[in-house]
Each structure stands twice: as structure tokens, then as C-alpha cells.
């Protein structure tokens, strides 16, 4: 009986280990969300990173919800596993995996950052991803996506890079660390946009028939709407190109 009680108690004690990382106020979370889009100018002085896990965790869950919305709208077909499992796996895998990898690189490059700070930094960097995907899953224009990818994604990447640069010494180390992080972050956004779009070129062919000239076959996603929207979208994209 005593052993069971002590095991149960240690379970509760484990929850208390995480308690200081959730000690935030709503205004702080809002301020940090906005700050995550603003690159800092002062890179000679180590920038303060709040070691908080509530905001990043909520952002990862929001990204999961947005991904689900995107996958449903574009009729993604998952062969092995489930829609929900894929979304959760992708988002959490990215957050935890890339954080650990960058933390390992930071350890190699002698950067002053702790694991919790890295988790927090990358988590808040997902705010840009959430905004971009939320907008571009609803308004399906590829040129709009590229603008958002460079603008919003670029801003949040720049902020993370600037913070890391301020905490690292030496040009080679800064280059390695920040180059890796920037590449992974931007590529993840690209992946999220394109992988969960079902590019149904076969359906395009059967719908438009042989009348469609080859240069109008632009890869784009197919929401579950009627052909009229499909046709007008094709004409609009062909006009803008």
C-alpha cells in the first residue's frame, strides 16, 4: 500500500516540475506572440528568452487544428494511420525534434541557450506558420502563399535567428546554427503547404478535357466546390502569370 501511494505521489510531483513553466499571464502571452514577429536589432547583447511552455504548447495545438482544417478541405487521403494522428505527429515531431536538434547544434557551437528556452523560441516561431497556413488554406492562390512564406515566415525566422546570433560567438558557429534553423523553419512551412494539398491533376484533365492548353496546368489544390470556381480560378491564375 505504501509503495503504491509513494508511486502516485511521485506522479503528482512530476506535474509540479512543469508548473513554473506555465506561470504566465494572458498579457504576457499576447506580448510574446507579437514579439515573435519582430526581429531584434541588437545582436551584440544576449537577448532574453522567456522559458515558458504554455504559449508554445498552445501554438502547436493550434497548428494541429489548422492542419486538420487544411487536410479536410483538400481531401487528403492518408493511407497508413489517421488524419488526426498525422497532424499531431507532424507538429509535435517538428517542435520537439527540431528543438532537440538545434539544441544539440547549439551545444556544439557553444551557444548560450537551454533546452526549455529553445523549445519556447521555436514554439513561438510557429506563430508565423499558424498565420500563414490559416490564411492560405482558405484563400487558395499560390502567389499569395509565396508572399506570406517570405514575409511572415521570414520575419519569424529572422527573429529566431537574431536571438540565436546574439547568444553565439564566432562567425562560423553563428552561420551553422542560424543557417540550419532558417532552412528547417522555412522548409517546414513549404512542406506544410504543399504536402497537404492534394494536387489532383488527373481530375483536372477529366474535367477540362483536351481543350486545356498545357501551360494552364498549374498545380493547385482542389476544394470541394463546383467546377465553376475551378474554371474561374484557372483563368485568374493564367491571367496573373
Amino acid at each position: 500500500g505504501k509503495r503504491q501511494a509513494s508511486r502516485a505521489f511521485s506522479l503528482y510531483a512530476n506535474i509540479d516540475i512543469l508548473r513554473p513553466y506555465f506561470d504566465v499571464e494572458p498579457v504576457q502571452v499576447r506580448a510574446r506572440l507579437l514579439e515573435s514577429m519582430i526581429p531584434v536589432k541588437m545582436i551584440n547583447f544576449p537577448q532574453k528568452i522567456a522559458g515558458e511552455l504554455y504559449g508554445p504548447l498552445m501554438l502547436v495545438f493550434t497548428l494541429v487544428a489548422i492542419l486538420l482544417h487544411g487536410m479536410k478541405t483538400s481531401d487528403t487521403i492518408i493511407r497508413e494511420g489517421t488524419l488526426m494522428g498525422t497532424a499531431i505527429g507532424t507538429c509535435f515531431g517538428y517542435w520537439l525534434g527540431v528543438s532537440s536538434f538545434i539544441y544539440f547544434l547549439a551545444y556544439l557551437c557553444n551557444a548560450q541557450i537551454t533546452m526549455v528556452q529553445m523549445l519556447s523560441l521555436l514554439g513561438y516561431g510557429l506563430f508565423g506558420h499558424c498565420i500563414t497556413l490559416f490564411v492560405t488554406y482558405n484563400i487558395h492562390f499560390h502567389s499569395l502563399f509565396y508572399i506570406f512564406w517570405l514575409g511572415v515566415g521570414g520575419l519569424s525566422t529572422l527573429r529566431m535567428v537574431a536571438v540565436l546570433v546574439s547568444r553565439t560567438v564566432g562567425h562560423t558557429q553563428r552561420l551553422i546554427l542560424c543557417g540550419t534553423l532558417a532552412a528547417l523553419h522555412m522548409l517546414f512551412l513549404l512542406y506544410l503547404h504543399f504536402a497537404y494539398h492534394k494536387v489532383v491533376e488527373g481530375i483536372l484533365d477529366t474535367l477540362e478535357g483536351p481543350n486545356m492548353p498545357p501551360f494552364q496546368r498549374v498545380a493547385r489544390d482542389i476544394p470541394v466546390v463546383s467546377n465553376a470556381v475551378l474554371n474561374t480560378t484557372a483563368k485568374a491564375v493564367a491571367l496573373t502569370l
Binding site: 506535474i15 506555465f22 504554455y54 498552445m58 495545438f61 493511407r79 489517421t82
Partner: protein, 217 residues
Amino acid sequence: FAGLADVSISEDMPVEGEITVPVGSRSPDEDYSTLDEPVRDTIMRDLKAVGKKFVHVMYPKKSSALLRDWDLWGPLVLCVSLALMLQGGSADSKDDGGPQFAEVFVIIWFGAVVITLNSKLLGGTISFFQSLCVLGYCVLPLTVAMLVCRLVLLAGSGTVSFVIRLIVVVAMFGWSTLASTAFLADSQPPNRKALVVYPIFLFYFVISWMILTFTPQ
């Protein structure tokens, strides 16, 4: 007693003994023993408790009945019925089905556990199972929405039915979120209510999304 000064009991030797006081043969607990009553009484009592909680959810007032005697029967029934109704939708090919039974089950319970942990970590005074109980019971409006959606889909699946389903699901989603907030927000420090409400909002949003995008085959 000087000779006893260096006699000491080691700290880790357990002290044993019995401190029970022999009670009289007629203790008041024996009158409340529920082991001898007919099974029908037990079931009816539990059903009445579950029914009362359903009523509390549909008309959320700030009462503590839902919190005091928590039970998980209601959430289990709601979760199973919702998962059964979401079964087997939108199967284009054999490989992809709609959300499967296990998926819905896991989402609801895993989501409820995460929200509970979050509210405890933010300094909530509610216990683990009380929070699970409230979140599970507040799935009731969404189950009603699922029922209505299935009935509407029997009539047809055009734009009109989509608009009706959208309105119903959004209304029930708002009701669920408000109901659970009415019960859970009181147990939080007053300036952190928004931090607790947001994950609840996300949780019911995901469930509403699964209901809205359900297309039967």
C-alpha cells in the same frame, strides 16, 4: 536515568501497533450500506445522477452539483455515441475512412486529459477527475448537433443542408464552450481565465470540425 542517555532507537525502525478503537456493533454506516439493495435501485440512482448532470449542462447555471459528485458514466456514453455516429463517413477509397471509432475516442479523452493538466498547471483548484467529468459532460450539445446533422444529411447534402449544419454545429459549439467555461473558470485565478478557456475552445473546435465535415457514404 543517566544510563539511558545513550540508548537510542534507530530512525528507520518502524513503530508497529494498533490504534483501533473497538466500535459498537451498531454503527451508523451499516444503515447506508448499498450492497444489499436491489440492483434496480443502484442503477436508477446512478441514472438519475447522470440525468441531473445532463440537465445542468443544457442549462448552465453556476451550481456545484456537477463538480461535487463527479462520475464518468455520462462522458463515456456521450463519447461512445458520438464515435458511433461519426463512424464510416466520407470513404472515397477503401484506404481512407472518416474518423474511426478509436480515433474519436482517443481524441476526446486525450484532449480532456491535456486540458485538465493545463488547468492544473496554471494553478487551478479543481481535481483531475472533476475536470474530466465537466469536459466530458459538455460534449452533450455537440452530440445533439451530430444527431441533427445526420438527420439533415438523410434529407440531402446540398448547399442548404450545409448551411443548416453549419449553423447548428456553430451554435452547439458555442454552447459547449460556454457551459464548460461556466463550470471550470471559477476554479482558476481570475486573471488567467483566458489561458484556460483557449484550449477548451480548440478542443471543442476540433470535435465540431469532425462533426461538420462528416459525409456519409
